[in-house]
């Protein structure tokens, strides 16, 4: 009877609300969205996850950020900056009018304190990000209270000196942990710093029921460049993906992202919803990583054969188009990506020939370690079928993410594993140096978990990292991409795209390739009373 009752109520085939028809962005309304996980902490020194970043970027404004919808750096707290030619000294001039939400002015010492706090805090993941700063290792080791490489000539100037040149360091200063923190506030609130933010961003915390609902209101003393159109922004925590979609359809949410494949297929098939779906490529690369020190993957012919075997077009289809076939590690928008390179074609004959040359013409049996993730599973199963066509039997082993992470970085770990990499910044160092430089190899927790060491690549990466000229860097990274394509430590599969479906009255949404979601230009086209207009 209930089924019949439910069946009688017509399914929603389109949005319940529509735009009021305003032509120009304006303030007002509450923007409501939900996330699958919960916010672990609002302390920028330790928060290092997508969800916390959504919250922190509303509350704080670091020296730099990315222009909406792009990976181009723009000044936020910094009104201008200079970098020396050899990329060792970074000089910032701060805006004079930036204030914390309690009205006190932001000074350069607040940024210095934030950076030093990351170095001093034992469980901060960011100390390694500042490893090149002169004197950073002394602060990390508790041998010095202050970092010699960070100075504040006056209240509005901050100078950071690096021990080793690093042209990509500028991107570090867009991360939330580098945003200003007032030392007296951090000392006063103690352990409560995780839920008592004092930021200089466009919004300030209104209320936070942990694990349930996080609400911010516009910061009245904010004077920066972000328009902050919605009066309030509300984030519901811990809501499953399919539930988020139901809430969106019912009008309980204004926008939803990362829809499950069936929901995405459905929404793309609905003429009244279709135009409100936005897709954008993220700064990530998915595929499979080889341990190149282990048989049979110590033979480049086997690694190339596996690359030829993968049918990338089929994978993109499985992922409902949310995937761009990859030719290498660098996603679109990252400096030095060689757009002339093509992904390995799906060439069964070539793959068979290479395996034959390597002595595996009669067959090969391998084990793939992967994680229990919807997309990773689809990718693994599709690859399993592709490999079967070239005479390779692949057994799939699914493990918990924590087990996977621990196993991958250890010497002698899985020879073949699913791999996904989301760059910390759009600088190529965050992809290539982190994953393939021989300096990133260690025995127990190796970031270079392919254990790939190639002196030619090391030379190119070192030269590119220390060169302040971006044209030179582009040339060097193009060359590095070609080296890796020829001697692949991964099966490059695809760059993931994220999708966001918004109500018709949500305007100005510009998905960020770096932050995934960026609400800085969003406005709500509501009626004169601030209400949603029903269709």
């Amino acid at each position: 009877m209930l089924l019949a009752l439910a069946a009688c109520s017509p399914p929603s085939a389109g949005p319940k609300y529509e735009a009021a028809g305003a032509q120009t962005p304006h303030r007002g309304g509450t923007l409501r969205f939900a996330v699958r996980d919960t916010i672990p902490t609002l302390d920028p020194t330790v928060a290092y996850d997508e969800i916390s970043y959504f919250a922190l970027r509303l509350l704080w404004e670091p020296l730099l950020d990315y222009a909406p919808g792009s990976a181009v750096l723009v000044g936020r707290l910094a009104e201008r900056w200079e970098v020396t030619e050899n990329a060792t000294t970074f000089h910032f001039w701060l805006r004079a009018d930036s204030r914390f939400s309690d009205g006190t002015p932001v000074v350069a010492a607040d940024v210095k304190f934030a950076l030093e706090r990351a170095l001093r805090t034992p469980d901060s993941p960011f100390s390694q990000w500042l490893g090149d700063v002169t004197g950073a290792s002394e602060v990390i080791a508790n041998k010095a209270p202050h970092c010699a490489g960070i100075s504040t000539p006056n209240e509005r100037e901050l100078v950071i000196h690096l021990e080793h040149p690093n042209a990509g360091f500028l991107y570090t200063l867009a991360a939330p942990f580098t945003a200003p923190q007032r030392e007296s506030h951090v000392a006063a609130v103690g352990a409560d710093v995780r839920r008592t933010p004092l930021g200089n961003g466009p919004y300030m915390l209104d209320r936070w029921s942990e694990g349930e609902r996080f609400v911010v209101t516009r910061n009245p003393v904010y004077s920066g460049a972000q328009p902050a159109y919605p009066d309030e922004i509300e984030m519901l925590e811990g809501v499953a993906r399919d539930t988020q979609f139901m809430m969106l359809e019912q009008g309980e949410l204004d926008t939803a992202y990362r829809l499950a494949a069936p929901d995405l297929m459905w929404v793309k098939a609905q003429p009244r919803w279709r135009s409100y779906v936005k897709t954008s490529t993220m700064m990530n690369t998915q595929g499979f990583r080889f341990d190149v020190t282990q048989k049979p993957f110590d033979d480049v012919r086997v690694r190339r054969a596996f690359n030829y075997a993968l049918d990338r077009a089929h994978v993109a289809k499985l992922l409902v188009g949310a995937a761009l076939p990859a030719h290498g590690m660098l996603p679109p928008g990252v400096l030095g990506r060689d757009e002339t390179l093509q992904p390995y074609p799906h060439d069964i004959a070539k793959a068979r020939a290479l395996l034959g040359e390597a002595g595996y013409g009669t067959g090969l049996e391998v084990e793939l370690v992967t994680i229990a993730d919807e997309d990773a599973t689809k990718l693994a199963e599709s690859f399993q079928a592709d490999l079967a066509e070239v005479g390779v039997t692949m057994h799939i082993s699914v493990v918990a993410f924590s087990v996977y992470l621990t196993a991958l970085g250890k010497r002698g770990g899985p020879a073949l594993a699913y791999a996904g990499w989301l760059g910390d910044s759009p600088d190529p160092t965050s992809f290539l140096d982190a994953k393939f430089a021989s300096a990133a190899i260690s025995d127990d927790a190796s970031p270079n978990d392919s254990f790939y060491a190639n002196p030619k690549l090391d030379g190119l990466l070192d030269a590119a990292r220390t060169d302040g000229d971006s044209n030179n860097r582009i040339r060097l990274y193009n060359e590095a991409e070609r080296v890796l394509a020829d001697d692949p430590p991964w099966v490059w599969a695809y760059h993931e795209a994220t999708n966001e479906v918004s109500q018709p009255y949500v305007k100005g949404m510009a998905p960020s390739p770096v932050w995934i979601r960026d609400f800085s230009t969003v406005w709500l086209d509501l009626d004169e009373h601030g209400e949603r207009v029903e269709r």
């Binding site: 009752l5 469980d123 993941p125 490893g131 609902r213 924590s402 087990v403 990133a440 970031p447």
Partner: protein, 314 residues
């Protein structure tokens, strides 16, 4: 000291032993997982130096005995440690999450009793007739349907399609909580309703065959009174034990139901803790769970004593 009081003191003492045993076994199981919590916390970008710092900070660089000693020394001082993931004292998290979980558990048990017991009574009263068969069918469906299926179904029907209840969350204010509570409580109670109906039915059928029931009938007592006053009370004993066990288990966290309905209780919290290998949080929830089961069983036994005075002298 009365016999009952001595019984209570002994059982509370046992609760501590059970709790210690449960957290020690859980500790051993989590430490035995071939995964490093520091790596899980810091993610794939972490360097070996950063991982070592975090391992030292949380005693993870020590062997099993060292880690156990480090954690237990804090526990005996009443400090359950700090969650790796949220950097928040575990006691604070438990204090915040226990309320919604207890509310959900009590609501589910309430539904199990008010729906399951009458179903069982009707089935026993009309044994072999259509009400009995109908109740049996309802019970079979209830016991066979897993909570993830029932939860998703009721969410889709009653919240999404019919709009009678909110889709997700906890709500605010008493009325808000109650509106948000209905669907998760119904989902959680489905299996229990079926079980309570079956137990009530079988105990009541046994009880109806006893001599004292025959005597009551022979004395001309009305059938309704025979059923509800003479036969039902002794039949409720096993049900009380079931309620005790259920209450304890449900307080330990209804993981699936809390996840589906975004109910901010212990179950959803421990799920996030398990994914992050957040050992202090996992142990905190196990501790609460062990105590809840022990205490709920104690109350069930006391209720049993009240229901059956013959046991008080044993």
């Amino acid at each position: 000291m009365s016999l009952t009081l001595r019984f209570v003191v002994r059982r509370v003492g046992w609760a501590f032993v059970v709790a210690w045993f449960a957290i020690s076994v859980t500790f051993a199981m989590v430490v035995a997982i071939p995964a490093d919590p520091a790596k899980a916390l810091l993610g794939p970008h972490a360097t070996e130096e950063t991982i070592k710092r975090v391992q030292e900070h949380y005693c993870l660089d020590r062997g099993f005995a060292g880690q156990y000693a480090c954690w237990m020394s804090n526990v005996v001082h009443g400090d359950l440690g700090e969650s790796y993931r949220t950097k928040r004292p575990v006691t604070e998290i438990l204090a915040e999450r226990i309320g919604p979980t207890v509310m959900l558990a009590l609501a589910a048990i309430f539904l199990q009793i008010v729906i399951g017991v009458p179903l069982g009574i009707i089935a026993a009263w009309r044994k072999g007739q259509w009400p009995d068969r109908a109740a049996g069918l309802v019970g079979l469906i209830g016991q066979s349907a897993p909570p993830f299926f029932v939860g998703t179904l009721v969410l889709y029907l009653f919240a999404f399609r019919l709009g009678w209840f909110p889709i997700s969350g906890y709500g605010s204010g008493l009325l808000g909580h109650v509106r948000h509570l209905v669907l998760p409580a119904m989902t959680l109670a489905t299996v229990g309703i079926a079980l309570y109906a079956r137990v009530t039915r079988s105990e009541l059928i046994d009880s109806l065959g006893e001599d004292y029931v025959r005597t009551a009938r022979a004395k001309g007592v009305r059938e309704r009174d025979v059923l509800l006053r003479h036969a039902l009370r002794p039949a409720l004993g096993p049900l009380v034990t079931l309620i005790g066990v259920d209450l304890g288990v449900l307080v330990g966290g209804a993981v699936v139901v809390e996840y589906i309905f975004a109910w901010p209780g212990l179950g959803r919290e421990v799920l996030a803790g398990i994914f992050a290998l957040d050992l202090p949080l996992i142990l905190g929830v196990v501790l609460i769970s062990a105590f809840a089961i022990a205490i709920a069983n104690l109350f069930a036994d006391l209720a049993y004593l009240w229901l059956d005075p013959r046991l008080r002298d044993r």
